[in-house]
């Protein structure tokens, strides 16, 4: 395995989530400072593995995403670090550039009242674009003599502390599909592997799917105080090596999807037969492709909706007592004619109780 390895890291830098992660209440708290030490050590290891290994770091900050570091960027000469007898100078340089960018971006956040959702999808998309550039720029420049073996073997590592934003479901899935298709111009088919390291917070449905669909590894870190151990064992080996070195991953994957109408994560959904859009309840008109569904179908689907929560009673016997039951249970499903994708609040409250 002589190919160089390119690593793009998507770094979740939500101050609020890091604040929560550092709370002494959690079993194994980790502060941002500790995390960054572990991360820098891991990055140095990656660079040290092979001369040609490259690195790009994308920060997902509240409301924005940005490239924090790229090993391809020329080193600013004015950026002089005092020599350090304990550290290999290129490492020192890289570390300081990364830390400076992070500091700069955190400073740039100012003092807002509320924290915006992090620009995770933006960072992921930028990482994919970056990989696309480094893996194909050589071949498109007209130089036919480029040996594909010298092109880097790309992968993405997502380090996440934030919960899923179900609103970004479609964009995340689109990114996953792009990752699957990327680099297929190469001589042999090879997708961009997405690894996920979940340090804090609930399990992420989307990231599990991302890792699974791209052949990556999803690690839910149990002991964040030993984060470096996880990083080294699971994420240092490039995908090409993983046929020989088995890396840990999660066996269980949550394959649920988020509905397009309310962005709820749903167990059972209603799929548009034309465009495959996902809805949490039957709709008369598909909001994506404007396909109209027959009213009979809607009634049938509504009559059969599985609703296991006791809070929303279903009619005892279907079909014949349907009109009565709607009056009995005002909370239950609206009649099909009144279902519109915008009827958010009621269903959202129902949905939240059904989902988890």
């Amino acid at each position: 395995m002589d190919k160089p390895s390119h690593l793009s890291i998507v770094l979740d830098l939500s101050p609020k989530q890091w604040h929560l992660a550092a709370q002494p209440g959690s079993p194994h708290p980790i502060t941002l400072a500790t995390f960054l030490s572990h991360l820098l050590a891991f990055l140095n290891a990656h660079i040290a593995c092979k001369d040609e290994n490259s690195l790009a770091i994308f920060g997902a900050l509240p409301g924005k995403s940005i490239l924090l570091y790229s090993s391809a960027a020329p080193v600013d000469d004015g950026d002089t670090e005092p020599a350090d007898a304990n550290t290999y100078r290129p490492f020192k340089l890289m570390d300081s550039i990364i830390m400076k960018s992070i500091t700069r971006e955190i400073d740039a956040l100012g003092e807002p009242e509320t924290e915006e959702p992090i620009g995770f999808v933006g960072a992921l998309t930028k990482a994919l674009c970056y990989i696309n550039r480094v893996t194909t720029s050589n071949t498109t420049s007209g130089d036919r003599g480029v040996d594909p073996a010298t092109l880097p073997d790309p992968r993405i590592l997502i380090i996440s502390v934030s919960p899923d934003q179900s609103s970004s479901y479609i964009s995340v899935m689109n990114s996953i599909f792009s990752a699957q298709k990327l680099a297929s111009f190469d001589l042999f088919y090879q997708k961009v592997t997405i690894d996920v390291c979940k340090i804090f917070g609930a399990e992420s449905v989307f990231l599990q799917q991302a890792a699974h669909l791209t052949g990556g590894s999803y690690i839910d870190v149990d002991r964040p105080d030993a984060l470096l151990q996880y990083l080294m064992m699971s994420f240092l080996a490039p995908p090409g090596l993983r046929q020989l070195i088995t890396v840990p991953t999660q066996d269980k994957i949550d394959f649920r999807a988020a509905c397009f109408c309310h962005k709820n994560i749903v167990d059972i959904a209603f799929i548009c037969s034309v465009c495959l859009s996902i809805f949490c309840s039957p709709v008369p008109v598909c909001s994506t492709c404007r396909t109209k569904f027959p009213i009979k179908t809607l009634q049938r689907l509504n009559a059969s909706r599985p609703n296991t929560t006791p809070g929303t009673p279903r009619p005892p016997t279907p079909a014949n007592s349907l009109p009565r039951s709607t009056s009995i249970a005002p909370q239950s499903l609206p009649r099909s004619t009144s279902i519109v994708p915008q009827s958010l609040p009621r269903n959202a409250s129902n949905g939240a109780s059904t989902l988890r």
């Binding site: 030490s37 955190i106 049938r300």
Partner: protein
């Protein structure tokens, strides 16, 4: 078929009696009794066997559709009379069987060989071996199938999904389904109809498959001599006889004019196969091995026609030969490109093949006619213009479907999909001072260099992480290395349990959910029936977990790890659990409903 009754003295099971052939039945009455003890309807007649000519007893055996063993009759009259009588019966019964055979629902019957006819080398000595049947219809299906076919004609079923015989045949061809059927239906856990509900498509497919019938074989009639024990002979079956008559009307004419007047039937065939006429009817010019035995025959030579090898075929068709089956059509191909005449494909370059080509053309034409039916074919040929021909060549399947551009996905308000409502789930964590968190982050970024130098992993945490990940990898490795060590018996029980549970689940959800389409199905159940069915299925499903426990226990008894069984059955139990939870929730929701009214 003459309506007059044929009668002959014949014994059945060594009892003397009278054999009669009426217009509807073949019947036998014991002497001294009034009512016939055997009555066989014509449609039942499937095959016919005769004793050899010259045998001590003149016997006739008739095989029935429902009973292959059939009935044996021995003609009691003195030898020559008995033979004549038998021949009469034979002729009539052959016709009847022929009709039966062409009948729509009795597709195949065991061919009935009659006495061997020709023995070329050793004069007319009758062969001592049983005749080898030689028939075009090589489809010989099991008698049971034929029987079920006939039963089906007796009681016509309009709906294939409720056809019992059809179900049996589906089960026979699908062992896995049969196993499930045995498990559930035979043990009366679910009814036959329930089992097939939702599986209608399998039945329909089977019915469609069975309703396809084999057409007429395209082979040219070509009786070939077989060498048996050093004798060359041609075995004549009634089927072959019919085929020859159909293919060569002149033979039929000769047969009608000569047999029973100048020649007996065996004699007729004997001479025919040695005649020039037969030689002219050969399907191939190469098979001239028997030519030295061809001799002049005053009877058959009368029917001999001149070889059809003139420039113009003797029998000009009233309609033109379809260009796609005319072997002479390529005679002057490629004319427009300036090529020479296509000598390689020149029909009739060798004169001797001309009759053969024309024979083939006629045969193909006849075959096509019989398949297409007379009416439309004629019209098609008369209108045979150029465009018409191209349209015949134009196969829809070969068209490039470029025109199908697909339906463009016209996303309305696409922006909406990529913007979500801001801050959904994370709000629950309680009020957090955002400014403080940002400040905290900033302080965390200070002194990173010193932090990095002092980085040290807590030994215990590191060990925990390491062992955790090692276990993760080891577990997968273990699965890879693990051999299949569940005994066949236990495994089979697990499979049975799993398929049964699946079937119960299928039935349950089928009762809960509406049918997959709006189309009214034959088995549409009323809500009450559905509810009853769901209740029944839930009762079965409730037992599943006990069953799995019992299975695991039994497995432990036979030395298998019970947890292994439980792990394997877990997904099924999860699905069962889901159904029961759903059922309970629905019932508990249903209970208070009347009070709220």
């Amino acid at each position: 078929m003459p309506s007059s009754t044929l009668t002959a003295k014949a014994s059945y099971k060594k009892l003397p009696g009278t054999l009669e052939l009426t217009s509807t039945h073949l019947q036998w009455t014991q002497d001294g009794k009034k009512a016939p003890s055997i009555r066989i309807p014509h449609v039942e007649a499937a095959s016919l066997f005769c004793s050899k000519e010259g045998a001590a007893q003149v016997r006739l055996k008739i095989g029935l559709v429902s009973d292959d063993a059939g009935h044996n009759f021995t003609f009691l009259a003195p030898q020559p009379v008995a033979v004549t009588e038998r021949e009469k019966f034979k002729t009539e019964l052959t016709n009847i069987i022929g009709v039966n055979r062409r009948g729509p629902n009795t597709p195949s019957v065991v061919p009935s060989p009659i006495t061997p006819v020709l023995a070329q080398q050793s004069s007319n000595a009758p062969s001592s071996r049983p005749a080898i049947p030689m028939s075009r219809s090589s489809t010989s299906r099991a008698p049971s199938v034929a029987a079920s076919d006939s039963r089906r004609t007796g009681t016509p079923m309009s709906d294939p999904t409720s056809d019992y015989q059809l179900r049996i045949r589906v089960l026979l061809s699908n062992p896995e389904l049969a196993a499930l059927h045995r498990e559930l239906v035979m043990s009366r856990q679910i009814t036959e109809n329930e089992f097939w509900e939702g599986r209608e498509h399998i039945l329909l497919a089977q019915a469609a498959q069975e309703s396809q019938r084999k057409g007429k074989s395209g082979q040219l009639v070509d009786p070939r001599p077989q060498t048996v024990d050093g004798e060359i002979k041609i075995v004549i079956t009634p089927q072959l006889k019919l085929d020859i008559f159909e293919e060569y009307p002149v033979v039929k004419k000769a047969f009608e004019e000569n047999v029973d007047k100048k020649l007996s039937e065996p004699e007729f065939w004997h001479r025919y196969f040695q005649s020039k006429l037969f030689n002219a009817h050969r399907a191939s010019i190469r098979s001239s091995a028997a030519q030295h035995v061809v001799r002049d025959d005053p009877i058959f030579d009368k029917y001999l026609e001149k070889d059809d090898d003139e420039l113009e075929p003797r029998r000009l068709r009233e309609d033109r030969v379809d260009i796609f089956i005319d072997l002479g059509a390529t005679l002057e191909d490629h004319g427009e490109t300036g090529n020479d005449k296509d000598v390689t494909m020149q029909a009739g370059k060798q004169r001797a093949v001309l009759p053969l080509i024309r024979k083939f053309n006629e045969h193909s034409g006849r075959l096509l006619d019989s398949v297409l039916g007379e009416g439309p074919t004629k019209r098609r040929r008369i209108e045979g213009r150029m465009e018409e021909r191209y349209s015949q060549l134009d196969l829809e399947d070969l068209h490039d479907n470029q025109s199908a551009a697909g339906i463009a996905l016209n996303m309305g308000d696409s922006k909406r999909y990529f913007e979500g409502r801001s801050g959904d789930a994370s709000q629950a964590a309680g009020p957090i001072d955002v400014k403080a968190t940002i400040h905290e982050a900033k302080t965390n970024l200070q002194g990173w260099s010193a932090n990095l130098i002092q980085l040290k992993i807590d030994k215990k945490a590191g060990d925990t992480a390491l062992s955790e990940m090692t276990q993760n990898v080891a577990a997968r490795l273990d699965v890879k290395l693990r051999k299949e060590d569940i005994p066949e018996v236990v495994y089979g029980q697990m499979m049975a349990c799993q398929t049964a549970a699946n079937e119960f689940l299928r039935q349950f959800w089928l009762a809960i959910y509406p049918p997959p389409s709006d189309l009214p199905t034959a088995s549409a159940a009323t809500p009450a029936q559905k509810a009853a069915k769901a209740t029944k299925m839930i009762a079965y499903l409730d037992q599943m977990s006990e069953k799995v426990n019992a299975l695991a226990f039994a497995a432990t008894q036979s030395g298998v790890d019970g947890t292994k069984i439980r792990t394997a059955m877990k997904p099924v139990l999860d699905a069962v659990e889901k159904a029961t939870t759903f059922w309970r929730a629905r019932n508990s929701a249903a209970a208070p409903a009347p009070h709220r009214r």
